[in-house]
Amino acid sequence: MASVADQATGISVPAPAAAADAPATGVAASSITLPAVGERELRLDLFRGLALWLIFIDHLPPSFLTWLTIRNYGFSDATEIFIFISGYTAAFVYGRALIEHGFIVAAARVLRRAWQIYVAHVFLFTIFLAEISYVATSFENPLYSEEMGIMDFLKQPDVTIVQALLLRFRPVNMDVLPLYIVLMLALPLILVSMRWRPDLTLALSVLLYAVTWQFDLYFSSYPNGVWMFNPLAWQLLFVFGAWCALGGARRMGKILSSNITLWISITYLVAAFFVTLTWYVPQLGHALPRRLEQWMYPIDKTDLDVLRFAHFLALAAITVRVLPSDWPGLKSRWLKPLMLCGQHSLEIFCLGVFLSFAGHFILAEVAGGAALHALISLCGIVIMSAVAWLISWYKHSADKSAKKGARGNADLAGGG
C-alpha cells in the first residue's frame, strides 16, 4: 500500500489535488507536484466506502434509510461511483505495474484480480442458491403462486449452474461483479492504449458507447434477457476513470475550476432533483412538460443513460470542488469506517451482498417491521466496517512480519 504513489515514472501520476473521484480543483501549481511517499488518495477510499454502504442499503428492501441514498435525489446512484473509482484505481495501480514491469506482468496481475472477483461471484451465487432453495421448498402462499414460478430454474440445476459459471445466469443484485470482471479483462488493453494515446482511448470508448446505443448491442443472459449492466456501455465510466487517473484529471483542472462548470453542474443537479421529486410526489407530475417527459423517459440504467452519466459528472465536479484532498476531515476518525470499507472494496462488496441476502432472509423469517428493518441496515453497516477493520489489521500485521517488498498494490485497486 505504501508503494502506490511514490516514485515518479513515465506516466503522469496524478497529484493529490487532481486525483479525486473526479478531476481536480485545478489549482495548477499543486496539481503538478507529485504525491509524497505513501500518500493515499483518501477521497477515493471515502467515496468508494460510501458507494459500498449505499449499494448495501439499496439492496435491502426499502426502509427509511433508503431515503438517504443518492438515487432518490437524482438520476445516478452508487454504482456509477463504484465503477468510476474502480477504473481510476485500477488504472493507477496496474498502470504503474505496466511501466515498471512490462505488459506481461501487468496483464497477469490484472487477470489474477479478475479471477479473484470471479471466485467471489461464484461464492455469492452458492449462498444465493442455498437461500432460494430454502424459500422454494418452505414457502407456500397462493397470493404469489405466479411469482414463485421464478424458482422454476431449480428444476434444472445442471443448466442453471453452468450458466451461472458462464456469468449468464445472474440473480437480481448480483450484476455488479460480472460487469467488473468484464471490465477488468479489458483493462490490459485499455492500459496499453491509454499509455500510447490517452485521449484517443477515451474517444474510442465514447465511440463504443455510441455504437452500443445506436445498434442496440448487448450481452445476453440466461434464460433470456440481457445483462442488467451492459459492459459495452458502462465501460465508458471505467475508461473515463482510468483516463482521469493517468493524467486526464490534471489536464481538466482548468475546466473543473471554472465557475461556469460549477454552475452548470449545480443547475443540472437541481433540475434532476426536481424530476426525481415527481416520481415520489405524483401531484407534481404535471409541472413537467409532456414533451420533456417523452424525450427523457425511460432513463436507462442498463445502458448507462447519458442523463445518468451527466448526473455523475456533475456530482463529481462539485465534490472535488468542495472537498479538497487535503481536507482535514479525511483524517477524522468518524470517517474511518467509510475509509476502511473503501480500502477493501472487493471483500466488503461481497460481504454487503451476502448481508443483504441475510437481511432479506431475517425480515422474511422473523417479521417485516420498520424498526427491525432499520436495525438490520445499521447492523449490516457496522459488520461491514468491523470486517474492513479486521482485514486492514490483518494485512498490516502480515505486512510487518513479511519482508518489505513491492506488494499490497492490489489494495488500492479494491482489496487483496
Binding site: P62, E131, F139, P142, L143, E147, G149, A364
Partner: protein
C-alpha cells in the same frame, strides 16, 4: 443522553403499538389518495354510467389476477361487487381473460380478436409480471405494451394498466422496476390511468395491514388482499371517470 434514549424507546413502543392497532383492523386496508389519483380520465366509462348503459369491464391478466381456482375471491369479482355497491342501479359485468405465462407481447397479439368478441367499455390490463420474471428487454416490453394499448383503444375501449404485485419474498429474484417504469411511461404516452398495484400493496405491508412476507398464510390472506385490491380498483375507476364523490363510499 439517557433521556434521549428513553424518549427513543418510548417512541418505538408507540410506533409498534400503532402498528399492532392497525393490524387489528386489517380489513380496512386504506390507500393513500395520492396512489389513487390520476390525471388521465376514462371518458367512455363516464359516458356509459351517466347514460345508464351497461358497464362491461374486461380484466386481462396473468395468474396474479386470480387465486388458485376460486374466481369468486379474486380481485375482478371483488371489483364487480364493489362497483355494484357504489352504483346499485347500473348493470355491471366484469369478465376475466387469464393468460398465464404469457408475456405482454404474446398477450397483445390476441387483442384484436378478443375485443371483437367481448366489446368492453373498459379494459384493465394487468401485465409485466411474466416479462419481469423472464427478464425480457424492457424496451421490447415497452413497445409491446404500447402496441397492446393502441389495439385496445382502437377497438373503442378505455384502458387501465395494472402493474406487478408487491412480492417481498421474491424481491431478490424478480427485478420489477424497469418494467414498472416502462408501464408508467406507456401510460403517460397514451394518457391512460395506471393502477399502481405494487405501491399500494407495499403500502399495506408497511402499514401493517397485511404481512406479505409471511410464509404461513393460506388462502385467507390471498382472499383478503384481493378483496382490498378490488375495492381500491373500484375507487380508482370512480376517480378516473369523475363519477362524483356523491356516489362514492
Amino acid at each position: 443522553m439517557r433521556s434521549g434514549l428513553l424518549l427513543g424507546l418510548a417512541l418505538m413502543i408507540l410506533v409498534a403499538g400503532a402498528a399492532f392497532a392497525r393490524a387489528e383492523e386489517a380489513e380496512t386496508c386504506p390507500v393513500p389518495a395520492s396512489l389513487l389519483a390520476t390525471e388521465s380520465s376514462l371518458p367512455k366509462v363516464a359516458e356509459a354510467v351517466n347514460s345508464g348503459r351497461p358497464l362491461d369491464i374486461l380484466v386481462i391478466g396473468s395468474r396474479s389476477s386470480s387465486i388458485g381456482g376460486s374466481q369468486e375471491d379474486a380481485y375482478p369479482s371483488r371489483l364487480q361487487a364493489a362497483l355494484k355497491d357504489k352504483l346499485p342501479t347500473a348493470t355491471i359485468n366484469v369478465s376475466v381473460e387469464l393468460q398465464s405465462k404469457q408475456t405482454a407481447e404474446e398477450t397483445a397479439a390476441g387483442f384484436v380478436k378478443l375485443m371483437e368478441a367481448k366489446k368492453p367499455t373498459l379494459v384493465v390490463w394487468q401485465t409485466g409480471t411474466v416479462d419481469a420474471m423472464r427478464s425480457l428487454d424492457p424496451d421490447d416490453f415497452h413497445a409491446a405494451v404500447d402496441r397492446g394499448v393502441t389495439a385496445l383503444q382502437n377497438a373503442g375501449a378505455d384502458v387501465i394498466l395494472m402493474n406487478l404485485q408487491y412480492s417481498p419474498r421474491t424481491e431478490t429474484m424478480i427485478s420489477g422496476s424497469p418494467y414498472m417504469d416502462n408501464m408508467r411511461a406507456a401510460a403517460q404516452e397514451h394518457d391512460i390511468p395506471l393502477f399502481d398495484r405494487f405501491s399500494i400493496m407495499r403500502q399495506w405491508n408497511e402499514q401493517g395491514d397485511f404481512d406479505l412476507f409471511s410464509a404461513v398464510h393460506g388462502p385467507e390472506l390471498a382472499r383478503r388482499v384481493h378483496d382490498c385490491i378490488g375495492r381500491a380498483l373500484s375507487n380508482f375507476i370512480f376517480g378516473a371517470a369523475h363519477l362524483g364523490p356523491a356516489q362514492q363510499n
